[in-house]
Amino acid sequence: MSAQTDPAQRVAIGISFGNSYSSIAFTSSEGKAEVIANEDGDRQIPSVLSYVEGEELHGGQAKSQLVRNAKNTVAYFRDFLGQDFKSIDPTPAHQSAHPVESESTVAFKIRDSEAEEENAVTVGDITTRHLRRLRSSASDYLGKDVNAAVVTVPTNFSESQKEALKSAAKEAGIEVLQFINEPTAAVLAYDARPDAQLTDKTLVVADLGGTRSDVTVIASRGGIYTMLAAVHDFDVSGSKLDQVLIDYFAKEFIKKHKAAGDPRENERSLAKLKLECESVKKALSIGQSANFSVESLAGGVDFTATINRTRYDLLGNKLFAAFTRLVSHAVEKAELDPLDISEIILAGGNSHTPKVAAAVGAAFPETTAVLAPSTSPTAINPSELAVRGAAIQASLIQEFEAEDIEQSLHPMVTVTPHLSTAVGVLLISGDESNGVFHAIVDAETPLPVRRTATITTPREGGDVLIKLVEGSRHIKVTKPEPKPKAEKADDDSEDESEDEEEEEELREKTWKIGSAVSETALRGIKKGAKVEVQINIANDLSVTALFREIGGKGGVRGQVQGKAS
């Protein structure tokens, strides 16, 4: 089967292929992305394959095989794709089929047929089988043969990883129209909502997934996205959070059933413990408490227990703090301040955990909106962000020739100069003789750009001066006034609380006026009229501007030369 389909024949979906879970989505004729459930009714389909007597199990069914059939169950393999054995971290696959070196690639030794012997199945082949199952679930649901997809990948997925994924998909009958970065897909998912407003903003996508966490800082300017920084941490992950619960329940179990032994020391017990802990963790995202219940956990002893959310929040504290630090670090790496971030999109399955949103939110000012289920009723399901974005992108490009798509992805198109400072106008304010700056185009806006601003004029109208200037963002820090000592502190407890609520310094985002670009006079403005400024900045930094009174005649046109190339 050819993977290069005639655009008219394409049936394209979005695929999010994660180490732990995958999902599929399509965009309806109304332009709405919908996540598809597989035959088991799962929208979060475990990226797991398991072989029992030659029969291939997939998704949730395969995942439950981790208890009895771990050796023939392949999980957490996405990051192995397109890598040599030397550069992979086999840790996540500890409780399933272990990756082995196989020529220049990675394989799993599994009994995937009815025959006794094990086959070395390469990670590429495993991926093909996994994608084939996803494709068939999507085709079943849509009643059409799916043959193309936009697939999300982490921002640090290398070219060779993409190549490997592309050919695995091709084998599965899927033409990869485009790989898009997971965080960008998340932003697109939000921006594609019908009520979304297109404003310039800088946002963070913080993804706490199953085996890793990835944080990306993205500038969104006029609906165009630029990645400013990305950081990754393979030790802050959902499975580490599971481990926290595993240790907790194992200890509880040992306390009660000393003779039965430590369930962590028996592979099968550990597998049961792990599966149950993951569902306990998920339950705690909604409920204030959750039940743990495993039949024959260890030594033939059944175990049930409960845990409340506060306990879990406490147990996971270090990881939540580490994730928060990672987010702050990404902002630092982008040379930005927390005050520059207008939104944090929490992505990845663990972002369902309220404490994750709370911890990250606490590290940012109130002006930063945290988009997560526990903080915003309109938040998109963090597990579905990537796939929704992919489905939207798929619908946007599915009619293009492959050649056309490829051309548009070339650096010739995608690499473009970005403004290093904001450009705006000087206005009157009460106290400053210098005037105040108001941005029209923000820093990190890709060129060329065109923006229009509507500006109030003096009440009496008359002749006005419009000064175009550069402005750079400045964080003004005000140290708190040393509080006058409280009159008297009778009891000791009051003393202690005083120390704690040491007043924080006040941090504000302000503008420093930079160099001037042009001056324009608009004469005879009517009382109460408004002025419109239209500026175009070309790639060579030349500025063409039009200044006019709204509803008035004519206006002033001006041009500032760019840099000679």
Binding site: I180, Y225, V464, K467, V517, A521, G562
Partner: protein, 437 residues
């Protein structure tokens, strides 16, 4: 597309502003950064269409563009592999407390300076290299002891609290103070600078002031030592705790160990505070700048004293001179006065004599004019009256007038004319003397 609403008023056009067609370019925009935009979403597609519209790109342009891509995923140039000590690779995880976590992760070049990201990257590299599955694949044993050491190192170093505990007792990060001899070779700033930089890692207050150099100002040096004498250290010593026995042992035993540990921590902390104090004392004692500042201060004081003394001397001399001058002037004045007095006396004498002479002339003229009697001997009464009247005139006039009168009379022998002269004088004075009538 995007429209910006600005709700502050524009400034009024200043008097005398001029620009060709009301527009004046005054500068240009700062230089840009080339970045890759994400080829995603409807706005990107519109953009791509505009960029590609009726254009084909040359191979050169394509290559150039490719070269301009700055990836946010760029490899850290800092990712180097430090050589691994074969002895270290044989370590057992149970001895994790005594392992050098930085050496295990291969970042001894950074130690306490390592950023969280450097630790993360180093850990990742070590995991990829030493994962037991890989050892097994390479034909080695499935021995995972060193891998566990790696995990322990990461566990400690990635937790800010535990990392501080380890950094507190990381002997390899210590920089011993140099010997006196070494610093005397002119290496004071280099050697002690390193010591203070290392000690500074324990400071709660950051940044820590630097030792500086021979050019540092007195204020800088003073605030440096002030900082170190008021050092606020987070260093603590729980990392060296004796293990508290686990559940097996009795509660009392446990409590005993805990108490012992607490006491040991406190003791070590006190010792460390004293150690640092001594260290600062030593540095201060050896710091040439302190001596120089003191010398300079001394010199300054001396200079001031000298200046003061010189000034005093000058003032005294001046006072003496002034006094001398005053005396001289007084004497001169006195002499002048004396001379003047003498002169005055002489003049008076002369005037007196002249007056006498003039009086004599005047009186003689009376006689020459026959006492205004006309011809014949004048009777005694006429003589008396004439002499009295002339005396009255003489009494009424001063010496100058007398001299004038005498001058007029001096060469006059004619009695009538003499009488005329007297008569004129008598009338001028309004005496109406009878003898002249």
């Amino acid at each position: 597309m995007a429209n910006v609403e600005i709700n502050l008023p524009l400034p009024v056009l200043p008097e005398g502003w001029a620009g060709e067609k009301d527009f004046k370019p005054v500068g240009s925009l700062s230089k840009t950064n080339d970045r890759k935009i994400e080829p995603v979403g409807p706005h990107f597609l519109a953009y791509a269409r505009r960029v590609r519209h009726k254009r084909t790109f040359s191979e050169d342009e394509r290559i150039q563009a490719q070269a301009n891509v700055k990836s946010v995923e760029e490899e850290d140039p800092d990712d180097i592999d430090e050589p691994e000590d074969p002895q270290m690779l044989l370590r057992e995880a149970k001895d994790w407390k005594s392992q050098d976590h930085y050496a295990v992760l291969g970042i001894t070049r950074h130690r306490w300076r390592a950023t969280e990201e450097q630790i993360k990257r180093a850990h990742r590299r070590k995991v990829l290299k030493h994962h037991p599955d890989k050892r097994a694949a390479a034909g080695g044993t499935e021995d995972d002891q060193f891998f566990k050491c790696i995990q322990k190192a990461h566990e400690v170093l990635s937790d800010p609290v535990r990392r501080r505990q380890f950094d507190s007792v990381d002997e390899a990060a210590e920089v011993d103070p140099p010997s006196k001899k070494d610093t005397q070779k002119g290496n004071f700033y280099k050697l002690w600078g390193k010591v203070f930089e290392a000690e500074g890692r324990f400071s709660t207050k950051q940044p820590v002031p630097k030792l500086g150099n021979a050019k540092s100002t007195k204020e800088e040096v003073e605030s440096f030592y002030n900082f170190w004498y008021n050092f606020d250290s987070w260093r603590s010593f729980e990392y060296l705790d004796e293990d508290v026995p686990d559940d097996g042992e009795s509660r009392d035993q446990k409590r005993h160990v805990e108490r012992k540990n607490n006491a040991a921590r406190k003791k070590k902390k006190t010792e460390d505070t004293a150690r640092l104090r001594h260290l600062v004392d030593d540095a201060l004692a050896l710091d040439e700048r302190i001596k120089l500042f003191r010398q300079a201060e001394h010199a300054e004081k001396n200079k001031r004293r000298f200046a003061k003394e010189a000034e005093q001397k000058r003032l005294a001399e001046e006072a003496a001179k002034a006094k001398e001058e005053e005396a001289r002037l007084a004497k001169e004045a006195e002499e002048a006065e004396k001379a003047q007095k003498a002169e005055g006396k002489k003049a008076k004498e002369a005037a007196k004599n002249a007056a006498k002479k003039n009086k004599r002339v005047v009186r003689g003229a009376v006689k020459d004019a026959n006492y205004f009697h006309g011809a014949g001997d004048a009777p005694a009464s006429q003589v008396d009256a004439a002499l009295n009247d002339v005396d009255a005139i003489i009494a009424k006039i001063d010496n100058t007038e007398l001299a004038t009168l005498a001058g007029k009379l001096n060469s006059e022998k004619d009695a009538g004319k003499i009488k005329e002269i007297f008569k004129a004088e008598d009338e001028r004075l309004g005496l109406n003397s009878k003898s002249l009538a």
